[in-house]
Every structure is written in C-alpha cells, then in structure tokens.
C-alpha cells in the first residue's frame, strides 16, 4: 500500500469512487492526516496555554498588582473581536474567564472520558454530576448554618466558590462510595448506580427547597442545572485550571497503567498492577473534572462532555494514543464552538456545547468507515 492509497478500516485499500466520501478519503492520505493531527494538537496546546496564562495573569493581578500589561492584551484582543463581530462581550474579563474554562474543560474531559467509555463507566460521570448537585445544595446549608464566607486558610473562594468547594468534597466522597459499591458487586452495575444517581439528585432538590427559607445565598438552580456563564466566577475558573492541570499531570505519569487497566483489567491484576487503587484514582479524578465542568455545562449535560468527544475519537482513531489526541481536538472544538455560539446567540452554553459536540460526532461517524456500534456509552 502506498502513501497515496487510503487505508480502510479493515486494513485493506479501497477503490476511490467519484462519491463525495471518495473525494474526502482521496484527500486524506495517512501522512496528511498525521500532519493535520499534529497541527491541530499544536493549536490546541497553544490555545490551552494562552487561556491558562490568562487565568494566571488575572490571579497575579489580584494578588500582587503586577502583570497588568500582559493581562490587558487579552482585553484589547477582546475589543478587536467585538469591533469585527459587532458584539459587546469579548472585552469583558468574565467572557475570557468562561472561554478559558471551556478550553481547559475541552482538553481534560475527553482525556478522562477516553478511559471511562471503554469500561462502561460513562454512567459514573452522570452519577457524580448528580452527586455534585447534592453537594452544591449541601454547601448552601453549610453556609447558612455556619456563616462560612468561603475562606480557607489563605484562599478566599467567595460565596459561589464555597458552594463549589463543598460540591467538590461531596462529589469526591461520592466517588469513593461508588467505588466501594462497585467493588462489592463486581461490576459497575446499573442498580446501585441508578440509586445513587437518583438519590443524590433527590436529596439535592430537597435541600435546596428547604434552604430557601433561611439561606443567605440564592442558588441559581437553573444555572447549575443547565450551565451558565455567570456561574464561572474567578474562583470557579481557577479551580478548573488547577484541578485540570493536576488531572492531566496524573494521567501523563500513569498513562501506561491506566491504558492497561482500561483495556484488560484482569490481565492487569495478573501483572500485579494495583488495579483497585488506580480505579479509585480514576473515579475521584472524574468527580473533580465533573464539578469543574458543571459550571459551564450544567449538571444535566456535563457527562456528555466526558462521553461524546471521546466517542468521536474512538470512531476515527487507529490507536489509543490517537484516541486521546483526537478526543482533545474534538473536545476543544465543541467547547469553543459551542461557547462562541452561545455568546453570539444568547443561548445557554451547556446545550450549545453539547449540540456542537454531537454534530462533530455524527460527522465522524459519516466520515469513518466504521459503524458507530463499537462504543457502549451507557
């Protein structure tokens, strides 16, 4: 097979017909695909670094008053964008904060998702989102009863940040509980998970209704359910940045082990890998990513960010490494595309991002020669 012939999914080569798919596949030789992928990853990396530096600069500015020059560059770019697009949102820091959060989520969610979807653990993401909702509600109650303003040691999280923090703790505990449950039932089975999923959401709604009588904070329930740009506070954005960097670092260090356990848990046990510890780590990291992504995507849709870009990547990828890479590209495209659409059309970000993600997935299904039945997502 030469480099010009398009490899098909079954390893053979295909006759190039006059159809549109034929034209596309004729263009996309293996080497070109690789170059496109590298270019895409390069852009994604630059974007992510740029957004992370925005958040870092904002932090520096707040704590030491410096770095103002670099920081204002972002706002100047925003003014240009507003000028050309006829909008008013890009010159405002909160928009950049939301964009930064979306970009980072677009990287970390598909990376974690790749390890979840192939083990039918995607439902875990959904469950942890509901647990996080209960966590937010619990946070409201905690704040109401203790008068906690959101300061921990040297950090001031603010009132919204306080809620997020409690949500993080509750979600992490939920993750450990789920892990404990599934260890007892041998699989990540339906019933215990369904109970935790529904139960935590139910408790959340009860707590929120009850707390309305005495809580000083009004919880933007709709915002937490569907995602809201207004929810992305400085504390929230920083939380996403810090936790995402940590999660990505852990995955980078333990990539081999996670891949092995995802592929064949039993063989991993025979090879004496500490499988249970890694499973726990994976579930806790999922909880952390979910709480971060929940701000923009909302409780109901956040799990989609774990599943859809990773599923898109699985359609097209020829190796697991490529699955991660393509997942990042698909995730960022969805996050940025969806967020821009939501900004320009004034629609909720969660739905916008997920719709774009699914559109990309469907495109991948059409372009690949593979049937979409391969990945059991739920």
């Amino acid at each position: 097979m030469t480099e010009e012939q398009r490899p098909t999914a079954d390893g053979g080569t295909t006759d190039i017909t006059g159809s549109i798919r034929g034209q596309i596949t004729a263009c996309l030789t293996r080497s070109r695909i690789r170059r496109l992928e590298h270019a895409g990853l390069g852009i994604a990396a630059l974007l992510t670094l740029a957004m992370l530096s925005f958040l870092l600069l904002e932090w520096l500015r707040a704590y030491s008053g410096g770095a103002t020059l670099l920081y204002s560059q972002f706002l100047i770019i925003g003014e240009w964008l507003d000028f050309y697009l006829g909008t008013i949102v890009f010159q405002v820091p909160s928009t950049w904060r939301a964009l930064a959060t979306a970009v980072v989520i677009g990287v970390v969610a598909p990376v974690i998702g790749a390890f979840l979807i192939h083990r039918q653990m995607a439902l875990i993401g959904e469950t942890l989102a509901h647990t996080a909702f209960a966590g937010v509600a619990a946070g409201v109650v905690v704040v109401a009863f203790t008068g906690w303003q959101g300061s921990i040691i040297l950090f001031d999280l603010g009132s919204q940040g306080a809620l997020l923090f409690v949500a993080l703790v509750v979600s992490a505990l939920g993750a450990l509980g789920l892990q404990w449950l599934s260890d007892r039932s041998q699989t990540y089975g339906d019933v215990p998970i369904a109970i935790v999923l529904a139960g935590s959401f139910a408790i959340g709604t009860l707590l929120i209704s009850w707390s309305r009588e005495f809580a000083p904070i009004t919880v933007d329930v709709e915002g937490f359910l569907f995602g809201s740009l207004a929810l992305v506070t400085t504390a929230g954005a920083r939380m996403v940045a810090v936790t995402s960097v940590l999660v990505l670092a852990v995955i980078a260090v333990y990539y081999k082990q996670f891949m092995f356990i995802t592929f064949d848990e039993q063989a991993a046990r025979v090879a004496r890998l500490p499988v249970d510890r890694f499973n726990t780590l994976l579930v806790v990291m999922t909880a952390v990513v979910v709480v971060g992504a929940m701000q923009i995507l909302g409780v109901i849709l956040v799990a989609a960010m774990l599943v859809v870009p990773a599923a898109t990547a699985s359609q097209l990828a020829r190796s697991f490494r490529e699955t991660i890479a393509l997942g990042i590209l698909a995730g960022q495209a969805a996050a940025i595309g969806g967020l821009l659409f939501s900004l320009l059309a004034g629609l909720p970000p969660g739905g916008s991002i997920v719709v774009v993600a699914i559109a990309i997935y469907l495109l991948a299904v059409v372009v690949s020669n593979r049937s979409p039945s391969g990945v059991p997502a739920y």
Binding site: A9, D10, G11, H118, R119, V253, Y254, K256, Q257, M259, F260, T262, F263, D264, E265, Q266, A267, R269, V270, A271, R272, L273, A313, S314, A317, R318, S319, F320, R321, E322, T323, G374, V375, P376
Partner: protein
C-alpha cells in the same frame, strides 16, 4: 530450583459449589503441561488459584516458591485468557500498544526506554506480527489476536505462560501454527501451562498431562494418559476418542 507452580492439598468452593477438591500438583520450571478436563471441571478455577487471583479455602498455592496470593513479580507471568476479557472489540488499540502493555509491569512508573521498545519489537517478531503491529487489534483474526497476547507475555519476559483454551474459534491452520509457536517457546525454556478440552491437541503437543474433574485424576506423561483409566474417570463412560499414532 523452585518449581514454577506448586499446589498442595488445595480445596476451593464458589459459594456452596465445590470446584477444586484436594488437588496437589507440581509444575517444574521448563515443563510443558496440559491441563485437561470436561466443561465445568474447575480448570479455569485452578488457573485463577495458580495466578493468585483467588485464595484457596484450604491448602497452599505457590508460584516460584512464594505464596501465589502475595506473589509480586507480575512480569514473570504471562496469561492468555479464554474469551476476550479485554475490550479489544471496541477500544482502539494497536497490536503494538497491546504488546507494550506486557512491558509495563517491568517498566513500572518510568517511561519506556529504547531497550524496552526493542524487547517489544523482538516479541512481535517471534510471533510473526511485525507487519501488523500498527493495525487495530479488532482488525486481526482470532489466531492473530492470540499471537498478540503471547507476544504480550514475551514482552514481559515471563517465565511462566498460562493459556486458557487459547484456540477456541481459531481455524485449523492457525491452530497448528499456534501450537508450533508454543513448542518453540518451550524449547527456549519457557514453562507453559495449557488448558484445553480437546484431548487430541493435548496429547499431541505436551509432555505432561494433568487431568482434572474437581479432583486430580491423572498427572503424568501423555502417552500413558491415554492408556490409563483417567479419561473414563474424569469424563464419564460415554466419551469417545479418535485414536492416532504416537511417535
């Protein structure tokens, strides 16, 4: 030299169902042992006990002289399981990625170095999968996939290779090639434990046969096995066998 596998008076039950009854068995290093028995005879359970995945209710299981349960050198064991316990059907992984997994137990937390990649290349070459190494696993035939799993065991430089009915669903020609490969590996010093329920395969290829149906009915060389009563005892009277000549 410690025997590769040593079971002493091992009993094991799932809930109330006795799967393994007072089995004592020793596999010396360098042996090629066939474990045979009818369906449901406890072969896979015995393998799980040997691999340290289960703890015996009574008796001891030793791997290379150590208790199997607390045996830590996972890289010394290669395991080719019965059904695909892996996600090869759905997950995008290349043959090379799968074979490299065998190396992870040796590499640990660090990165794969040049020497590690070379071992992976050699493993692929031994099983004759070098040309297919960048192909997705689910695009391989059953026989090719099983060879990939053997390569995974070779990449970890295993001393013991345990295979559980590895040629189910593999065509006859591939099967012959597969067993020739096992013979070659055995001649190179690998200890092999092969579970099969096809009696002909076992007696043709292995030195030693262990016949189990909850209890150990026979443990000795394959020629005498056919002439003994063990088959009838283990399988029951109504079994048939195709006679063939032994060299």
């Amino acid at each position: 030299m410690n025997p590769a596998v040593e079971l002493q008076n091992v009993w094991f039950a799932y809930d109330n169902h006795l799967a393994v009854e007072d089995v004592s068995l020793t596999i010396e290093q360098g042996e090629f042992v066939g474990l045979i028995g009818p369906n449901g005879s406890g072969k896979t359970t015995l393998l799980r006990l040997i691999l340290g995945l289960e703890r015996p209710d009574r008796g001891t299981v030793r791997l290379f002289g150590e208790s199997a349960r607390s045996f830590e050198d996972g890289e010394r064991i290669g395991h080719v399981s019965q059904h695909a316990t892996d996600r090869g059907a759905a997950m995008p992984v290349t043959v090379r990625e799968v074979v490299s997994m065998g190396r992870f137990a040796r590499v640990g937390r660090g990165r794969m170095r040049e020497a590690d990649h070379q071992v992976v290349d050699e493993a692929l070459a031994t099983v004759d999968l070098t040309e297919l190494s960048d192909r997705r696993l689910d695009r391989l035939s059953g026989g090719q996939r099983q060879r990939a799993y053997i390569a995974r065991a070779l990449a970890s430089e295993a001393d013991l290779l345990a295979l559980d009915e590895p040629t189910v669903g593999v065509d006859a020609t591939s099967r012959d090639e597969f067993y020739s490969l096992l013979s070659r590996l055995h001649h190179d010093g690998l200890t092999i434990l092969l579970i099969e329920h096809d009696i002909e395969v076992i007696t043709r290829h292995v030195d030693t046969v262990a016949c189990i149906n909850r209890e150990l009915h026979y443990h000795g060389d394959s020629v005498s096995f056919l002439e003994s009563e063990a088959l009838s005892e283990a399988y029951g009277e109504s079994h048939g066998i195709i006679h063939h000549d032994h060299p």
